[in-house]
């Protein structure tokens, strides 16, 4: 049987089906980025890790409520515990402690987003389609920012819902704008991480180099922040003017400062522990400057990406 031929017609046939107009390609790129990210098991684990403060607080609050309600003297103990808890600060802690896992998530989602395309010379493929540089960059950016936003918003809303349903009489709803304020700061954090990681990714053609660079910037600036916080805490807040502001001069610092400024708290010790003058109680910065810094950094990194993305490699 030397003349075996396939039953199906495998010859080239033209496509004459529908084609969407240009303008929505960014969503195709974003969707693909999200789809690839969701296949990574580590991302699912990190989602829970990033919400660890909220999860621990949910468990603590649940058991405190259960134990004190079954005990005649419990009401008093419950009242004392609740008085120590500053509700907006629980959201601040939830947000702050999520930042390190969020860095790892941002790296998983974004370090290779443009770097891998640079390595595979895929920019030609993208930009030879009816998809311009603007759509490409926006798609990559949304593909990182959107998952970060969802990962941060979900535990915040769950914690808020639990608090609002259970602890009204303990002043949980004292600030009616608490949730909207959190829903303002979380997108800022998502935008901030996505912009930086997209900018750094565009500078390399290896995801690991981009990861190392962002992690390096994160940890070096964080070390500086810890140093400033240490100076501030050891001097009981009587340090010269720049120290309390320089505390916010890091990736984490900018976001934590913005969170404090927006929800209007200077911070307290986590889990309702009694503490005075700890590092987490560095006064909040002013809203406009800190948001200006966050916006400026984001714009700078997006501009870096914009400059680096080229369909054709220009040599010499």
């Amino acid at each position: 049987m030397s003349n075996i031929k396939p039953i199906a017609d495998l010859s080239y046939r033209n496509y004459d089906g529908p084609l969407k107009k240009p303008g929505s390609r960014w969503w195709v790129i974003a969707k693909n980025g999200i789809r690839i990210a969701l296949k990574k098991m580590a991302l699912w684990g990190l989602m829970f890790v990033s919400a660890w403060y909220y999860l621990v607080m949910l468990v603590v609050l649940f058991f405190v409520q259960q134990i004190t309600s079954s005990n005649p003297a419990g009401a008093q103990a419950m009242k004392a515990f609740m008085e120590r808890l500053v509700w907006p600060d629980q959201f601040l802690h939830g947000f702050s402690y999520a930042q390190l896992p969020m860095l790892i998530i941002a790296l998983m989602l974004g370090a290779g987003s443009i770097a891998n395309d640079n390595r595979a010379n895929a920019m030609l493929v993208y930009l030879s389609k009816p998809c311009d540089k603007r759509e490409y960059l926006f798609g990559k950016w949304i593909g990182i920012a959107l998952p970060i936003l969802v990962i941060m918003v979900v535990p915040t809303i769950i914690f808020y819902a639990y608090g609002a349903l259970t602890f009204r009489e303990y002043g949980f709803l004292k600030d009616a704008w608490l949730l909207p304020k959190m829903l303002v700061i979380i997108p800022i954090a998502a935008i901030f991480h996505a912009s930086i990681v997209v900018g750094i990714s565009s500078m390399f053609n290896q995801a690991r180099n981009a990861s190392a660079t962002y992690a390096g910037i994160y940890f070096i600036t964080n070390f500086f922040t810890l140093l400033m916080g240490g100076i501030w805490a050891s001097s009981r807040g009587e340090t010269p003017f720049p120290v309390k502001h320089l505390f916010y001069a890091s990736i984490d610092g900018v976001l934590i400062g913005a969170c404090k400024a927006i929800i209007g708290t200077k911070g307290s010790a986590p889990f309702g522990i009694q503490s005075q003058g700890g590092m987490s109680q560095v006064p909040a910065p002013a809203v406009v400057p800190i948001l200006g810094v966050a916006l400026l950094i984001s714009v700078v990194f997006v501009l870096i990406a914009w400059r680096k993305i080229r369909a054709v490699e220009v040599i010499g």
Binding site: L10, S11, Y12, R13, N14, Y15, D16, G17, P18, L19, K20, K21, P22, R25, V28, I29, N32, I36, V125, Y126, S128, K129, P130, C131
Partner: protein, 216 residues
């Protein structure tokens, strides 16, 4: 990413609905000879397979015009043959116009009908390969068994122009039509005792056309 995922992604980027893009991705991968490897990760592909998948992603949305830049770059001789066959089959009778950019002139000669020589962004020459290769005056190359001076002299006596031979091949030029020229050559060979092994209308190589355009 798998090959089918990559090609359907390219289809979606071109504006195809997701279901159509997936269906079409299977189709073009099969056509490009990657049907068996379509669920493999693209990163594990050989250079030849990567060239094929690039062609597949370019074909997925059924373009009317296809621009291929060095499609045989990095391919082994067999892969090169297969890629050229593929490009030729797409460009002939399938409603797709193909522009191939390449410095490999034998590839161009095999796949294309028309050539455009562009140097530093300026058009130097354009036309069908057949026309560009034609020499003025339609000379003929006559191949003899061995060089024969008498044959050349006799042709010149009959008013034909004969250039010095390259090996056993004489280039003969005249105003006569090719059929008449052949008869004159046969007669002269008989008279001079030369053995004619070949007779064909002389053409330039594409390389000569390119070099001429370069120096023009």
């Amino acid at each position: 990413m798998t090959a089918v995922g990559f090609v359907s992604y390219a289809g979606e980027l071109s504006g195809m609905p997701p279901a159509e893009a997936l269906r079409r991705a299977h189709e073009v991968l099969e056509y490009c000879g990657l049907g068996e490897a379509r669920y493999r990760n693209v990163e594990t592909y050989s250079t030849g397979m990567k060239q094929r998948i690039k062609l597949a992603q370019a074909l997925v949305h059924g373009p009317k015009l296809l621009l291929l830049d060095e499609p045989t770059n990095g391919l082994d001789p067999r892969g090169r043959e297969e890629m050229l066959d593929l490009v030729r089959s797409v460009s002939h009778g399938r409603g797709v116009n193909v522009i191939v950019s390449s410095h490999l002139l034998p590839d161009i000669e095999r796949v294309c009908d028309r050539v455009i020589v562009v140097i530093k962004g300026k058009l130097r020459t354009a036309g069908t390969i057949k026309d560009l290769k034609k020499l003025a005056g339609q000379p003929a190359d006559v191949e003899l068994r061995e060089p024969n001076v008498a044959f050349a002299n006799m042709l010149m006596e009959k008013g034909l122009t004969v250039t010095p031979p390259k090996g056993n091949i004489y280039r003969v030029q005249s105003e006569l039509p090719p059929e008449e020229l052949l008869r004159v050559v046969q007669r002269t060979a008989l008279e001079s005792g030369a053995q004619v092994r070949g007779f064909e209308t002389a053409v330039r190589t594409l390389e000569e056309v390119f070099l001429e355009a370069l120096t023009a």
